[in-house]
Amino acid sequence: MLITKLKRTLRSGFISFWRNGSVSLASVLVMTITLIVISCVLFVGVVLNTTLKDIQSKVDINVYFTKDAVQDGVDQIVKSVKALPQVADITYTNKEDSLKEFRLRHQNDQLTLQALDELGDNPLGAKMSVRAKDPSQYETIVKFIKNSGGDNGTVDRINYDENKVAIDKLAEIIVASRKLGFAAVLFFIFVSVLITFNTIRLAIFIFREEISVMQLVGASAMYIRGPFVTSGVMYGICSGLLTMLVLWPISYWLGLLSDTLGVTVNLYQYYQENWFQLAFLLIISGLILGATSSYLAVKRYLRI
């Protein structure tokens, strides 16, 4: 009997979806707009995240070792800094390469190169560039380096103190942007869900007389609700698919604008690479949204 009931519920839901074409179309279109808004918020999130990561990757600190530092001491510091959980990666440049870099940087400055030649000896020490996983972690890393080699004459200078204000500001901006982005995502999702819920509630309002008749002929609440929930699921699936279709040209157009806008992520490429996850997310969101809204909306009229 359970299978028969399930079969009847699904059949009634499909028939109702089809026969109430205009109501279904209106619900699907409103849900599509909702899902497009959610997708756009997702795209903005991707752009924001990539941009922040991009900015973050450009921030680093340089640790300059003294020219007379013992190589074992330098190697020890490099090794222990590399092992820190806060460190994303390091770039070590030995004394010779530092000199080469210096010469290259000043290749058009004959006076400086001449002065360097007159010295006869390499005046530069080795250098280590450190990139933290998060800009807020530089202070901890610097403290560690100072404790490891700052007092025994291995480390000459760390450029963190000069850049501290800028790095801290950037860390604050990144944290604030993430919080703001998250709040915006929540807000838009909340508004979209509210719009969808009210649209489906209005669609079911049309059927309130039918619901009362169904109750009066002795249909159980679950039996009445089933076809409406099935229709809600149909709205969700159709709008999820429609949203994927609409996002295709939108992401293509945004992809073309990426270079103009100075955004490092290409949204069309992102769409192509993640279409399956995106479709899954949109269809499941639509399905849950449609089913839950229908379930709650029918409940309102099941009070006889």
Binding site: M1, R8, E209, M214, G218, A219
Partner: protein, 226 residues
């Protein structure tokens, strides 16, 4: 079979719809309830259908107070009562066949039973040829006949007909009353509300007159006296 014991209903706005109503209806009876608009006829039916709860008093069906039934028992009770409304209340996006089948599906009947019984009741109300028509493709009289078919398909103990001829012309009124009489002759209790004196006179069955929420007359001889 059905007993209304001192039933009163006062709505939230303070209006008194029913005032100490006592009625006993026996199996296989045909009872007409008459009264002016606002007299309390529809409220009385709502009490019997448990669409609304009485402020005071009780409604018993086979010695059970229907307002104490839980949701599942209520569904079972409603399946034992067939309803016919003045405005037909057919489900517009279902065909005549589907409207009747829905009542059977709700009662948990099998597909085979539905396939056998729906055409049969449609034949009884002479609408077999229009079984695949939607309500908007049927006339008022035809819609009411579909509603009657829906009400009788589960072979209920009682049929409640709330002004079933209110929207019908005399020919269709006559046909609907004849169908109800035939159903009553087959053993189903009928409770009918109407304004139509002609209908009451043609029936010659028990008439309960309601005025301002009270029973003012209970006439077994079938006279419409208001």
């Amino acid at each position: 079979m059905l007993l209304l014991d001192n039933v009163s209903k006062i709505y939230k706005d303070g209006s008194l719809a029913l005032d100490g109503v006592n009625i006993t209806i026996k199996p296989k009876e045909f009872v007409s309830i008459v009264g002016h608009s606002g007299a309390g006829k529809s409220t009385l039916l709502k009490m019997i259908m448990a669409e609304d709860k009485p402020t005071k008093g009780k409604v018993f069906f086979e010695d059970i107070d229907i307002h104490t039934l839980n949701r599942s028992e209520m569904n079972d009770y409603r399946r034992r009562i067939g309803m016919v409304f003045q405005d037909f209340r057919l489900i517009p996006n279902m065909t005549a066949y589907e409207n009747i089948a829905f009542a059977m599906e709700a009662a948990g009947r099998t597909d085979e039973e539905i396939a056998a019984d729906v055409p049969h009741v449609l034949e009884l109300v002479d609408l077999k040829k229009k079984m695949h028509n939607f309500p908007n493709q049927l006339s008022g009289g035809e819609k009411q006949r579909v509603a009657i078919a829906r009400a009788i398909v589960n072979q209920p103990d009682i049929i409640i007909a709330d002004e079933p001829t209110g929207n019908l012309d005399p020919v269709n009124t006559y046909e609907v009353i004849q169908i109800l009489k035939k159903i009553n002759d087959l053993g189903t209790t009928i409770i009918l509300t109407t304004h139509n004196k002609g209908v009451i006179d043609s029936l010659g069955k028990r008439v309960i007159s309601v005025e301002a929420g009270k029973i003012i007359r209970d006439d077994k001889s079938g006279k419409y006296l208001l």
